[in-house]
């Protein structure tokens, strides 16, 4: 018990040092710009179909499921607004981040871990390349910038899914749907929700890189790193979300 608590705090300390190292390296000149663009493509663009699909289903299902309750209250015209608020404030960012953690977090963890255990990272180091700068910094930076874009597109697609959901059992024209959505939606719904996604993206890639870059124990370590990356990144998303909600409510 004592030993596992000690290991936990050691791990947290290492993660803190890793984060510090990131901020130290990210601003130091000689930027790996080409790697950054490549990672934006791999992390952002390549995740788009998956995230678009889940966004669509999310909007559609949420609308179909909420409808009966609202009909009972005779508040059917509130359906678009209610779905939009829950998607934009909460479900869109969190579900997208969780899918992102499963795809990108585990991918980064597995890739870096296999490079580590096959000595490829050592090989970069001895050829005079700063492997942290080349491998870790572009991945974290790309994920931090790409996840918000993915969340915004998922939100938009989810609203479209909701529009289709509204028209399965009812009849709402597209302009009316949009009107009903934006009647209830304010800047205070959108802005904090977007801000927190930067932190989601950052923490997912940070944990993936941390687990991968520090992997040990051969091929077994690769599986462990990929697994731990998803588990802790998902947990991290919920924790950050909780903190973000508390902070938003303060203002």
């Amino acid at each position: 018990m004592i030993a596992s608590i000690k290991i936990f705090f050691e791990e947290v300390a290492h993660l803190a040092m890793f984060t510090f190292q990131f901020f130290k390296q990210v601003f130091k000149p000689s930027y790996e710009f080409k790697e950054f663009i490549k990672q934006c493509y791999l992390i952002g663009y390549k995740s788009f179909p998956l995230i678009g699909l889940t966004g669509f289903i999310m909007g559609l299902v949420l609308t179909i499921q909420s409808r009966p309750t609202l009909v009972d209250f005779g508040a059917e015209s509130w359906l678009p607004a209610m779905v939009a608020v829950s998607i934009i404030r909460e479900i869109g960012p969190v579900i997208t981040a969780l899918i992102f953690a499963g795809k990108v977090g585990s991918g980064i963890g597995a890739e870096l871990a296999s490079m580590k255990v096959t000595e490829q990272i050592d090989a970069m180091e001895v050829s005079g390349t700063n492997s942290f700068k080349y491998l870790v910094v572009p991945r974290i930076a790309a994920a931090t910038l790409m996840l918000p874009l993915l969340v915004i597109s998922a939100d938009v697609i989810a609203l479209y899914g909701s529009y289709i959901g509204c028209n399965i059992n009812g009849d709402v024209s597209f302009p009316l749907f949009i009107l009903q959505v934006f009647e209830k939606l304010s800047f205070a719904d959108i802005f904090p929700a977007v801000i927190k996604t930067f932190f989601f993206g950052f923490s997912i890639a940070l944990i993936g890189c941390f687990k991968g870059y520090n992997a040990t124990n051969g091929t077994q370590g690769v599986g462990k790193a990929a697994n731990a990356a998803v588990v802790y990144a998902s947990l991290g998303v919920f924790i950050i979300d909780m903190i973000a909600v508390q902070l938003t409510n303060l203002f």
Partner: protein, 241 residues
């Protein structure tokens, strides 16, 4: 004579496992030093200490006159460009083609034009006899080919010191001989100094100027190939059979 590598009282242990206890070593410019030792005796750890991949517990490591434990990151990277390292496992970058693998160490040199880089890559591949593999991915190569590409990648920066970790292990006798001759050729052409870890007696016979046998974490057994292979001590002769 100019000393390019000097190791004094090097110590390294992993937990209770004392791998290296007291290693002392000097390598002069243009000299090939072959290292023998049982599997697990700490040969790979020794050369990893030389490039700062493994931090020694005690002792000094001087490379080209600089104590590598006292360098900052930028100085260390600059020094590492002058030291080639051939990994026991090859350590090719799986996600990159052979060409990109070879271009990787050249990235820092902004002075090279595209054509110059291309020429260097082709030349390095010619040295190991694998020009055809230039656009292959590492997974498409055989074990021996990977080893030779790893060697080409090590040689492309024309390092002053080369550390070979088992350059011929797992290769057929003919290719092994070619690699041994390549090591000699590089030594003559660029006057490089090398540390060659090997279990291959033939490779040692061809390439060694001096030899060292790591035993129980110490480096007391040294001499030329002839001296050691004809040693009166049976346990030393055993390494050559």
């Amino acid at each position: 004579m100019e000393t390019v590598v000097e190791i004094r009282h090097l110590k390294k242990s992993f937990g209770k496992n004392e791998v290296l206890k007291d290693i002392n070593l000097k390598i002069e410019k243009g000299e090939n030093m072959v290292v023998f030792g049982k599997s697990g005796s700490g040969k790979s750890i020794l050369i990893k200490c030389l490039v700062g991949l493994v931090q020694p517990d005690a002792g000094e490591v001087l490379i080209l006159g600089k104590d590598i434990c006292k360098l900052n990151d930028d100085e260390l990277n600059a020094l590492r460009k002058k030291v080639g390292f051939l990994f026991q496992s090859g350590a090719l970058y799986d996600s990159m083609s052979v060409r990109e693998n070879l271009e990787f160490p050249l990235r820092g040199n902004k002075t090279n034009t595209k054509e110059e880089t291309e020429a260097l890559v082709i030349e390095a591949l010619k040295n190991v006899g694998l020009e055809d593999a230039i656009d292959k991915m590492p997974t498409e190569l055989s074990g021996g080919m990977r080893k030779r590409i790893g060697l080409a990648r090590t040689l492309i920066l024309k390092p002053e010191i080369i550390l070979y970790d088992e350059p011929t292990t797992g290769l057929d006798p003919i290719t092994s001989k070619e690699i041994s001759h390549l090591i000699l050729e590089v030594q003559k052409k660029f006057n490089t100094s090398s540390i060659i870890i090997t279990h291959d007696v033939e490779c040692a016979r061809l390439t060694a100027n001096r030899m060292i046998i790591i035993k129980e974490g110490t480096s007391d057994i040294t001499g030329t190939f002839k001296e050691l292979s004809e040693s009166k001590d049976e346990t030393i002769r055993a390494y050559f059979q």
